[in-house]
């Protein structure tokens, strides 16, 4: 509320230079404790899960190694987070499952980004009739109950991880496309693009040299906020039993199984639930932090 006339901060000066905008953004992100916390948690978990995905013997047990005689045991010295009813080490399954969940999150977000950005950019840049038709198509897809859509895809093509992130990505790209289109429309009218036009640059060049870089802010923010949604969606699919193929685990699968036995073997819900919630928290914090840092408005449509 300090009106700009009375608080000549350093920001306006630095906005002019492109590279220092990112430096400035990084600085602002760095000042946001929650976002840094989120980044740290996500990185640590990501590395842990990735490492244990690559070398499954890290915890001394593999995610699929059973001990039927042992059955479900609470956390103890041998099994830090306890075991599930088949006597499998929860920590191993949690880390391995995290690898899968994060991978699904990353890939699905990637798919949604790829489709959404290209589609939105084309629609926004083309404008006119093409834009109208393309946006109509998005409206149609919005009106489809996506649950059935995903179920049908999973059912139709069989269950596999690859398919899962394609299916999820195929559902999640709509909002991305809308955001990108809006940004493109806004940027297109700005002077530097008009100048590029005037210089006779080719369309494609204008899109990729000038518009896309300016879209990065909203895209990064939205991607960060899409990941938790995707991970949550994966857990919903697991609830329906349409998750990853056994004996693989994912956070969704673990939480689903944990929720069923939460009264008898609470640790089977608590640890996976806590880790997933922590991850989603962190991703959301990070996304919010990025939004503030990159000064993206209305990125939630």
């Amino acid at each position: 509320m300090i009106d700009t006339a009375t608080s000549p901060g350093p920001e306006p000066v630095e906005h002019e230079a492109g590279s220092s905008f990112w430096q400035d953004a990084r600085h602002r992100l760095w000042m946001n404790k929650l976002a840094v916390f989120g980044l740290a948690v996500v990185s640590i978990l990501g590395v842990l899960c990735f490492v244990s995905y690559l070398c499954p013997h890290l915890t001394g047990y593999t995610y699929e190694q059973q001990n039927l005689a042992l059955g479900p045991t609470p956390p103890n010295h041998a099994h830090w987070l306890g075991t599930d009813p088949l006597g499998r080490d929860l920590l191993a399954r949690l880390l391995y499952g995290g690898g899968i969940s994060l991978m699904v999150g990353l890939y699905a977000t990637g798919v949604s980004l790829a489709i959404g950005v290209i589609y939105g950019a084309i629609a926004g840049f083309a404008g006119g009739k093409a834009d109208m038709v393309m946006m109509r198509i998005i409206d149609i897809l919005y009106a489809l109950p996506f649950v059935i859509f995903v179920i049908l895809i999973m059912v139709f093509f069989g269950q596999s991880i690859k398919l899962m992130f394609i299916a999820i990505g195929a559902v999640e790209w709509l909002t991305m496309a809308r955001i990108v289109r809006g940004q493109v429309m806004a940027i297109k009218r700005q002077e530097f693009v008009e100048a590029a036009h005037a210089l006779g640059l080719k369309r494609r060049r204008i899109i990729f040299r000038h518009i896309v870089p300016n879209l990065l802010g909203p895209i990064i923010v939205y991607a960060t906020l899409t990941m938790p949604e995707v991970i949550l969606l994966e857990s919903f699919l697991s609830f329906l039993g349409l998750g990853v193929q056994p004996p693989h685990s994912s956070w969704g699968v673990l939480i689903k199984e944990g929720a069923e036995v939460m009264e008898e073997y609470p640790w089977l819900l608590i640890y996976p639930g806590a880790v997933m919630a922590l991850t989603l928290f962190s991703l959301n914090f990070l996304g919010d932090g990025l939004r503030d840092a990159l000064d993206v408005r209305g990125s939630k449509d």
């Binding site: 149609i140 109950p145 139709f156 938790p228 949550l232 939460m262 449509d301």
Partner: protein
Amino acid sequence: MLRFIARRLLETIPVLFIIATVTFFMMHGAPGGPFDSEKKPGPEVLARMKAHYGLDKPLFQQYLLQMKHLLQGDLGPSFKYPGRSVNEIIAVSFPVSLELGCEALVVALVFGLAAGMVASLKQNSAWDHVPMSLAMAGLCVPTFVMGPLLISAFAIHMDWFNAAGWFFPRDRVLPALTLGAYYAAYVARLTRGGFLEILNQDYIRTARAKGAGGARILFKHALRGGILPVVSFLGPAVAGLLTGSFVVETIFGIPGLGRYFVMAAFNRDYFMVMGSVLFYACFVVAFNLATDIVLVWLNPKLRFEE
């Protein structure tokens, strides 16, 4: 305005038509048929069952036939429940989902708006952090965990509610909370963001300069602009809320429409799938339209541009 609405409604027709077509072919393309079961019916029985529902005809003919029926407002019979039509099932189960959805919506709006407004007014204080952390939790805990947790705590340990069912007024409380929590969290975050932006506007300063008190500033000056993001979000969200939630209805044993969405697909109850998809699509279209109308109503600038 009326022309705008009429145009949008007209545009809906091809949208619905395309959705129906996509659904039809996806559904029929999926492996497995409506009458498959673990105990195989004899081949003659199966053939006659299919003939009874016209499933023995060529696919394209089935498609034309179904389109014809849809145009007449006849969603067809249910395979899973012989003797019941899809229209009847929707008619019976939709009001339940509608009621639950409304109650969840109230939960979402009351808690979400209140938390978001308080947080935006007391930015960076405990009044901001605590509700927003709760909201984040609401977004991060899957419904199928939240539901059983609430039941365990309040129905079984405290013994205040029934564990499931849809018979008494108090049976509404836990499902509405469970379903509303996610939306409340979302609304809270959007409200906070919206209000923060509005409260930084010059005209709020003007209002203060006029001597307006906190409540007046919040409700008279900031509300309209502050809830714009919430309204944009709620449009499609309400369509989803009112047409039922599979998870909540399953966990709480609620006879709503949400379960049919999913179960119909699992049962390959073709007509039921088509009926529920179209029903949902109509809702989405209607609520998107309603959202646009409300947005225009809230924002006179848009009205001017129309």
